[in-house]
Structures are given as structure tokens and as C-alpha cells.
């Protein structure tokens, strides 16, 4: 009988259960907004109603203890209403303007930074890393903490030419937004998988393993009695997708794995169309717990962008205007064979078929 009582397929609760009354009353009737100061938004409705949202930094991984503390603050200042953003900050929704100052005091007392609005560097969209995933080449939370500590001055201020989105993915599955961010941190392997021939036939489907390789580097083992695969190491670019499909093909190497940086992606349509991020730095070593080389390289790129970009220009638009050859020059980043695309026909579109370049 127990089975009959099981509840399934109810989906998420309807959002209307969680909307503050001011939002229910003015739903779809907002006319404008202002950013009163970094981290504080004011929305005005047709009715004249005003809603204040205070945006607070979060490391995304939080404990139930922290979640309950957030609830305590929401109860005290926001009648218990809050939301999270698409970049994993949280927002406290205030209807009584008089509560803004004491709320900000409370947040300061707790050491919870506010910001992430307008032309700031907001939260870093990131992934699981060594805390929960089996395919990462780098950690996620540790690098994010290190980068945000270093660039913290940009979180709670509006001093950049435009908003800057940094994202991190711990392998090139690129969970999240690495392929479409102003600056992106991506974990990369640099060693081909080591095939565990004795285990492979027990653990893996050989055809799906072969089909998982973008460069066709995997084929059945020539010794038919072995029921395994071999890797043409010259064709392997260490994506790790075969390991995703087949546990007998690990490709981890603590010293050779590391961080690639990409730049110049965006998703919004403002001015220019959405763009992919492009390779800026092919490899930086993993150096826990603070990844100093990653942190300083990102800082350098961000500062050169802030100095060189025009008003309202995203990183992608700045680079497109000055040219990639100038980007490498001003950021003092060595240009290498790894930067030149050689993946199938997509590569051709990235070559310069013109005399339009700078020395």
C-alpha cells in the first residue's frame, strides 16, 4: 500500500506562493528602475509602488546554517521574502524604504557584501570541481573565492566600462557559462587517457566510447580477444569525453592539468550580437589553494580592459574594436600555436582572410 501513497510528478511549487504582496499587486506593471547605489535596486510601478532589492554576494555552496541565517534577515527586514539571481547572488526584497539603512547595517555586521549591479564584476557562475565531480581538471569553489577576493573592489562599485561576467567550468564540458562570458576560466587536461585494458570490457560500452571522441582518436583494440580500445595519442586533445563515457579511461595528471582562460563572450544582444568566448591563455598551472598565476592574469586582463575600453563597451566589443593582435599586445599575453583553431571546418572562419591587421 505504501506505493499508492507516493507523491510524484507534482513539479515545482507555483511561484505565486512566494511573491511578496507588492509584486503580486504590480506584476507586469513596472515602469522603470534605478540603481540607487551598488547592490541596491529600486523598481517603480504604474501604481507608484516602490520595491527595493538589495543584492548580496553568495559563494553558491552554502550550508543549511547559512540558508537559515539568510531567512532570519529576510524575516526581520523583508517580511520573509527573498529570491536568488541567475548568477547565484541572493536578493532581499524590501518594501519599506526606512528599512534599507538598518538592513545594510545588519549585512555589514554579518560580513555579507552587497553589490553585483550595473557596471560591476558580479558573482562568478561556477561548477562542482573537486568538491563533487569526477571529471574536473581544476577545482571550482577555491578558484572562485581567490579571484573574487582579489577583484573584490569591483563587486561593490560601478567603476568598469560595462558589466563584466566571469565564469568558471572545471572541465570542458563547460557546465554553466564559460563559452559565453567576458572572462572565462576553464579546466583543461593535457594528457591522453590511460586505457585500463583489464577493466574496460567490464565497465564500458565500446561503441559509445568510440563515438564519444570528437577527433576520432579512439578505435577498437586490434587484438580482438582483448575487447578494449586504443587511443591514437597524436589525435587526442584530452577533452576527457571518453572518460565521461567509460570509467576505464582516466586522463588526470596533477601537474599537466590546469587552467585555460577565455575572453570576449557575451549573451546579451545590446549593441553587438551574442558572442563566444575565445582562447586567451592556453594553460596556467593548478596552484591551490590560491591559484596566484590565474588570479594575477585575470586581474591584468580586467585592468587593461578597464583602461582601454570605451564607455559601455563589453570585453568582446573592446577586443573586436582594437583587434586581437592588439589584445595580446596590451595584455602582454604570449600568442602560441594553441590559439590558432584547428578543429574541423570551424577553424577556417577564424583565420584572417584580409589585409586588415595592425603591426
Amino acid at each position: 500500500m505504501a506505493e499508492a501513497e507516493r507523491i510524484t510528478d507534482i513539479g515545482p511549487p507555483h511561484y505565486s506562493k512566494f511573491l511578496p504582496p507588492i509584486i503580486k499587486e504590480n506584476y507586469g506593471k513596472w515602469v522603470s528602475h534605478e540603481i540607487l547605489e551598488p547592490g541596491v535596486l529600486k523598481h517603480v510601478a504604474e501604481s507608484g509602488a516602490e520595491l527595493y532589492s538589495v543584492r548580496v554576494a553568495s559563494p553558491r555552496i552554502i550550508t543549511t546554517i547559512r540558508a537559515r541565517e539568510i531567512c532570519d534577515v529576510a524575516d526581520k527586514f523583508c517580511d520573509g521574502y527573498l529570491r536568488f539571481t541567475s548568477r547565484h547572488n541572493f536578493e532581499l526584497l524590501v518594501t519599506d524604504k526606512a528599512k534599507l539603512a538598518p538592513l545594510k547595517e545588519e549585512l555589514a555586521k554579518r560580513g555579507w557584501p552587497i553589490g553585483g549591479t550595473g557596471h560591476s564584476l558580479t558573482n562568478i557562475v561556477h561548477t562542482q570541481g573537486w568538491i563533487h565531480c569526477h571529471t574536473p581538471a581544476i577545482d571550482a569553489s577555491g578558484i572562485v573565492k581567490s579571484v573574487m577576493d582579489d577583484l573584490f573592489e569591483y563587486f561593490g562599485t560601478h567603476q568598469l566600462p560595462a558589466q563584466v561576467r566571469i565564469s568558471l567550468a572545471c572541465c570542458l564540458n563547460m557546465c554553466g557559462a564559460v563559452h559565453c562570458s567576458d572572462i572565462a576560466i576553464c579546466g583543461v587536461h593535457r594528457t591522453p587517457p590511460k586505457v585500463m585494458h583489464d577493466k574496460l570490457r567490464h565497465l564500458c560500452e565500446i561503441p559509445t566510447t568510440i563515438a564519444s571522441c570528437p577527433t576520432g582518436a579512439i578505435r577498437p583494440h586490434p587484438d580482438k580477444t582483448l575487447k578494449s580500445v586504443i587511443v591514437n595519442e597524436e589525435r587526442c586533445m584530452y577533452c576527457g569525453n571518453c572518460y565521461t563515457m567509460c570509467p576505464a579511461m582516466p586522463c588526470f595528471d596533477p601537474e599537466k592539468g590546469g587552467v585555460a582562460l577565455l575572453v570576449g563572450g557575451k549573451v546579451s544582444n545590446a549593441k553587438s550580437p551574442p558572442m563566444f568566448s575565445r582562447l586567451a591563455v592556453p594553460w596556467i598551472p593548478n596552484n591551490p589553494p590560491r591559484w596566484p598565476e590565474v588570479v594575477s592574469t585575470i586581474r591584468k586582463i580586467l585592468i587593461k580592459y578597464a583602461e582601454g575600453a570605451n564607455k559601455y563597451e563589453r570585453v568582446a566589443e573592446w577586443i573586436e574594436r582594437i583587434g586581437w593582435e592588439k589584445f595580446f599586445e596590451v595584455c602582454d599575453i604570449p600568442f602560441t600555436f594553441q590559439h590558432i583553431d584547428d578543429y574541423k571546418f570551424q577553424a577556417y572562419d577564424t583565420y584572417r582572410t584580409s589585409m586588415h591587421f595592425k603591426f
Binding site: 510528478d9 513539479g11 515545482p12 507555483h14 511561484y15 512566494f18 511573491l19 509584486i23 513596472w30 515602469v31 522603470s32 528602475h33 534605478e34 540603481i35 523598481h43 520595491l51 553568495s58 559563494p59 555552496i61 552554502i62 550550508t63 543549511t64 540558508a67 537559515r68 539568510i70 529576510a74 520573509g80 521574502y81 527573498l82 536568488f84 539571481t85 541567475s86 560580513g111 557584501p113 550595473g118 557596471h119 560591476s120 561548477t127 568538491i131 563533487h132 569526477h134 577545482d139 573565492k145 577576493d149 573584490f152 560601478h158 570542458l172 557559462a177 559565453c180 570528437p214 569525453n241 588526470f252 596533477p254 544582444n269 545590446a270 549593441k271 563566444f276 593548478n286 589553494p289 574541423k344
Partner: protein, 414 residues
């Protein structure tokens, strides 16, 4: 307690420290001691210590739980099982403190007390529990009105921007569309039946605050067809410096309407004579730049709906794709039958033709846009391309010759 000298270094600095927060669970959650211990080991060795894969779930579902086992279970027994549960978030990530407390009570009872708020697809992530706790935890959640989200070769949990709940630019009700579509596809979400994963994301305007163009197989982005609404007195206030550009969110004290708005407009369809702003709306491409900079003077039009784009995914296998336009404009009104009809046709065509682990965007490239559009009954429109093909390798079908015989023209003579 495990010693964590490397992780301890991540407790300093102004940004909230996940290490400091996790350590607070040590008195009540011994498994978090092991989580920090294993993470410290990973920091020392620069390598993950999670075993490959793991297939676990709850009765009746094939989706939503990510199994995980430590490869050092003797050293870190609390991580022998450390599975993740994805819990479908409410649209727009709105909560009451009461709802979050209920979630915390359940997770403290059945799991590690560690959460991700939120996963990149949108789910509430319960991080770390044992196999035997999955079923009772799920049912405790269900009794409070929460269901499990998606994983595997299934519909994943749809997500949406804040939309009309708190944004004056939202061109349709993203929250309701997201909720409605999530409910419509409960079976597909919980029971993987596709060639691979399939994601929906809903953005209210072309600013695309949930990044749907890059992170959803099916991207629904709000747009308007009529004129941008202009409040000329507010335009004057921007010109005079009484109103700050970008709502005050930029380093710039005053907006230079000619340089910052008119000259940065990608289509050059605006003009400003010092007091009146004019927009040639027929040539506007709805990029949002002018509206973003002057939120108190400009608003999207009122004839609103959405553009439907298809195909984005990350690099594996054939290289990253962003979604491209297949329907330039559709109305977005509950119960969204027009969207459901197209989405249903997409899924059917993909399920029929897709190879194992082939995203729908890759399938369309393999079989061609024409086959895809014909399967959906959609006409070819210039909005779906950036530029026509340069090569002469185009196909003709018998149907083309039949249409031609019936009077279809490819050219005009006037």
C-alpha cells in the same frame, strides 16, 4: 577532525568563504568533516577523489539524482555515498523564508546540510546523501510541494529570468511560461526518453538574463513588434544630467545621448536634435542598448511576444553552439499551445532521428535546416540566418519542382 591547512587559507579575504561556512556543520554533520578532508587531499594532490559515475535514483523516476562515491571510502567513510539531489526550483528563484526553512529541515534530516543555491540549470542542489535516504527525502519534499528536477537524457528543469515580477522590460510572463512548460513535460523531465538532454530557458527580453541563447536547446526570448515607448521629458532629463545613465549603475555621471546612445545604436536608426529623440522603429533590431541606458525614458513596445531560438549547447561533441532563430515572433499567452506544438514537433523529430547523445542543435546541422523546418511545418525566413550561403551546393527536391509547376516563383521581374 581532519587537518585542512590548505583550505584554511581560503577563510581569509572579503568574499564569503565556503570553507568557513562548511566548517560550521562539523559539530552536527560528521560527513562534512570527511568532505573537507577529501577536498584538502584533492588540493594537495591536484586531482579529484570522486569515483566515476554512479547510478542511483528514486522509485518511478530515471532522473534527478547524481550518484557519487568517494574513491577513498576507508579514509573518508562519510563520503562512501555522497549523492546529489536536484530539486526543481520555483520560477524566478522566488522564496519565502518559511519555504527555505522547510527545505533546510528536510535536508538536515536526510542529508549533509550542504546546498548549492543554485545549480547552473536552476535546480536547488542538495549536495551529499546516502542511497537509502533518497526515497524518504524525496517523499518528505513532495509532501511540502517540491519535486525532483531533471538529469540524464531527459528534459532538464526549465528556468527563467525575473520577468514581469520585477522588470519593466519583460515582453511576456516568463515565470508562468516556465512553470507551465515544466508541468507540461513532467513525464519527460522525470523519465529520460530522449537521445540526450534538452533544456528550456525563458528570458523576458533580448538582454537574456538567464543566458538562454547559450545555455538552452530551446531558447524563448521576449521581444516586441511595435514602437519603443519614449517619454521625451525624461529624455530631456537624461540630456540635462538630472537622470543618470543606466539607472545610475555606471561610472558616468551624465549621458551623452548623441555619443552614447545614437552613435552606439547598431542599426543607426536613432537621431537626437538636442531635445527630441527619434527612433525609426522599422529599422530597430531590438538590441536593448538605448533602453538599458535610459530606463526611465524608454520602454519596449506593447505588441509583445517572443522569438524562438533552437540548438545551443556546450562544446562536446561538435563544438559549442548558440541558439539560432527559427520563429522570429510568436505570441506567448497561456496555455502556450503554439509553443507546445512546436516544441512537441521538435522533440518528436529529434527522438526519431537523433543519434545517441546527439543534442538537437547537432542533429539539425547533420540533417540540414530544411529537413528540420519542413518536419516542423515552418517556412524559411531571412531572420533565421545572418547571411545567405556563399557556396553553390544547394539541393532541390521534387516538391520544389511541383511547386514551381504550380506557379511558385524564385525571382521577380519588376
Amino acid at each position: 577532525m581532519h587537518k585542512t591547512p590548505l583550505l584554511d587559507q581560503l577563510e581569509s579575504g572579503p568574499y564569503p568563504s565556503f570553507v568557513t561556512d562548511l566548517k560550521r556543520l562539523l559539530p552536527t554533520k560528521p560527513q562534512v568533516n570527511d568532505l573537507l578532508g577529501q577536498l584538502e587531499r584533492s588540493y594537495k594532490e591536484k586531482i579529484t577523489h570522486w569515483k566515476h559515475g554512479g547510478i542511483v535514483g528514486v522509485l518511478g523516476y530515471g532522473s534527478g539524482i547524481i550518484g557519487r562515491y568517494s574513491d577513498l571510502p576507508n579514509e573518508f567513510p562519510g563520503l562512501e555515498h555522497f549523492h546529489t539531489m536536484r530539486i526543481n526550483q520555483p520560477s524566478g528563484w522566488f522564496y519565502t523564508s518559511a519555504a527555505i526553512r522547510e527545505l533546510c529541515d528536510i535536508w538536515d534530516q536526510y542529508g549533509s546540510g550542504v546546498l548549492n543555491m543554485h545549480g547552473a540549470t536552476g535546480d536547488i542542489v542538495f549536495l551529499g546523501t546516502r542511497t537509502e535516504e533518497l526515497e524518504p527525502c524525496f517523499q518528505a519534499l513532495a509532501r511540502k510541494g517540491f519535486d525532483i528536477g531533471g538529469s540524464g537524457s531527459a528534459m532538464r528543469s526549465p528556468s527563467c529570468c525575473v520577468g514581469p515580477a520585477r522588470c519593466e522590460w519583460s515582453c511576456y510572463d516568463t515565470l508562468e511560461a516556465c512553470y507551465d512548460i515544466t508541468q507540461e513535460y513532467q513525464f519527460e523531465l522525470h523519465r529520460p526518453s530522449f537521445p540526450y538532454k534538452f533544456k528550456f530557458k525563458f528570458s523576458g527580453c533580448p538582454n537574456d538574463c538567464v543566458a538562454s541563447v547559450a545555455r538552452a536547446d530551446c531558447s524563448v526570448i521576449g521581444v516586441w513588434k511595435d514602437d519603443i515607448r519614449i517619454d521625451q521629458s525624461a529624455v530631456k532629463a537624461y540630456a540635462g544630467g538630472e537622470l543618470k545613465p543606466r539607472g545610475g549603475g555606471s561610472p558616468y555621471a551624465k549621458l551623452d545621448i548623441q555619443a552614447d546612445v545614437v552613435e552606439l545604436c547598431p542599426t543607426g536608426c536613432m537621431s537626437f536634435d538636442g531635445s527630441t529623440l527619434k527612433i525609426d522603429n522599422r529599422n530597430c533590431n531590438h538590441c536593448m542598448h538605448c533602453i538599458n541606458l535610459m530606463p526611465q525614458a524608454l520602454r519596449p513596445g506593447t505588441e509583445t511576444g517572443a522569438t524562438l531560438l533552437i540548438g545551443s549547447h556546450a562544446p562536446i561533441l561538435e563544438g559549442a553552439q548558440m541558439s539560432w532563430v527559427i520563429v522570429p515572433f510568436m505570441e506567448m499567452e497561456p496555455p502556450y499551445d503554439n509553443l507546445k506544438e512546436i516544441a512537441g514537433n521538435i522533440m518528436e523529430w529529434w527522438a526519431e532521428n537523433g543519434k545517441n547523445r546527439e543534442r538537437v542543435g547537432e542533429l539539425i546541422l547533420r540533417l540540414g535546416m530544411r529537413n528540420f523546418l519542413e518536419a516542423l511545418g515552418l517556412p524559411p525566413v531571412p531572420q533565421s540566418i545572418k547571411i545567405p550561403r556563399a557556396n553553390p551546393f544547394f539541393f532541390w527536391k521534387d516538391a520544389d519542382f511541383e511547386a514551381e509547376a504550380a506557379g511558385k516563383k524564385y525571382y521577380t521581374t519588376k
